[in-house]
Subunit: 176 residues, 3 copies
């Protein structure tokens, strides 16, 4: 692990080999972070959060308890997760989980309401507000976010009318 | 008051009993913060800002001069306030006030234009852009934010067609 | 240059006279920042970024490599830039440039997709998601951002139907 001297890593946090924790980031105890991840400037990783290998989290993102990021997820700068559907300053509340599946990307400054599942290799556009589940390989954007197309593992876009399981004709490995 | 050792509290700031100021937060002189508040990671509280008791401010929020938060307000992570309606880098400008009334909640990553009043116990959805006043107990979301329903003090939602003053049938104390 | 003691300025960064770098900001080596700029709390300035004179960058903004801010630009708090149009955690990617021209303003919590040019003295409303070029003196807002009017150098608004080159009748210097 590489950590900048200003990063704050609480005792008990587990951080994998090859992961970098950058300036003024804060990882709380009982957080579990995989290998070869990037934790950007000012990022906050809450207690009990679980983050897979090869995840990149850009600056000023908070991963609150209840949010799970599978491996190879990308989270853009200032993207925002939540864990309370109707927050109030006082009184009881229920923590609601969010799952971001393998290889999915959350665009810069996007907002993800809790209780959502973002499917494998899905892509959430910058500034989107995600209020419903996103299917695997789905491309969504807008407020509220709407399904507007499909993306391949490399991020190439295909029209909504095409099958989301088709092989990508822009990916060299998929061409015949 | 509890403060993390990396929190910066300028001389002259007034902070009430039981309030916590977390990692890398910054409270400027002449700010006034009530009791039992939570000031999250990286939060900025400007000069002359007034914040009531039991207010919770999540990570990376800036409360600029001109913004007033009454007691029991909740502000979600990355929510953004402003105090200039037409900002330019150079030249004169006028500071425009914003009021968030008792018990209101501002969702994660929401944006509040200055000159707005957010009424008591109103709820601003995550990612909303608030460009008009929000009535007491009003629920708004979208860009621009629209009134879509009502919420009770505990955050239970009721349709827009119902009276906003009705007793909440989901709150145990209100049931007969 | 004025810098707060918690600001991190990497060796090799060039920062002009009269510029202030505030709390927990981070300027990387090979960044070039002009004179009389304000770099707010928690701001991140990437390598190879070029920022003109008299630029004001509010709290928690990241200026990534590929983004250029000409002189007198204003960037509101939590506004977000990008440099990858289809980000993935793994694999190759192409850095795409963004240009913000002289005197333009980016509103609080706005999102600017990469590959965009924001024209001279244009104004991007708070919370907007900019997906297309913005003409000089253009006023845009919404998600996606739409051209809704014109602004003068001082930020006074004119209807879309008026010429964008007309002299501003609200500016004392322009009145006859």
């Amino acid at each position: 692990m590489t950590r900048h001297e200003t990063a704050l890593i609480d005792a008990g946090a587990q951080i994998g080999e090859g992961t970098s924790v950058w300036h003024h980031a804060h990882v709380r105890s009982t957080a579990w972070i995989g290998e070869r991840c990037t934790i950007g400037q000012g990022v906050y990783i809450d207690e009990h959060v679980c983050i897979g290998d090869d995840v990149k989290i850009q600056n000023h993102v908070s991963i609150y308890r209840g949010v799970t990021l599978e491996k190879e997820v990308f989270v853009g700068p200032n993207a925002t997760f939540t864990n309370d559907i109707a927050p109030r300053s006082l009184g009881p509340w229920e923590r609601i989980p969010t799952f971001v599946r393998r290889g999915a990307s959350i665009g810069a400054n996007a907002t993800v309401i809790c209780g959502i599942e973002i499917g494998e290799y899905a892509m959430v556009g910058a500034g989107a507000v995600v209020t419903h589940d996103v299917p695997a390989f789905g491309l969504v954007y807008g407020n509220p976010a709407r399904l507007v197309g499909w993306v391949c593992r490399s991020g190439h876009r295909r029209p909504l009318a095409q099958s989301r399981t088709s092989i990508c004709d822009q990916c060299p490995g998929d061409r015949r």
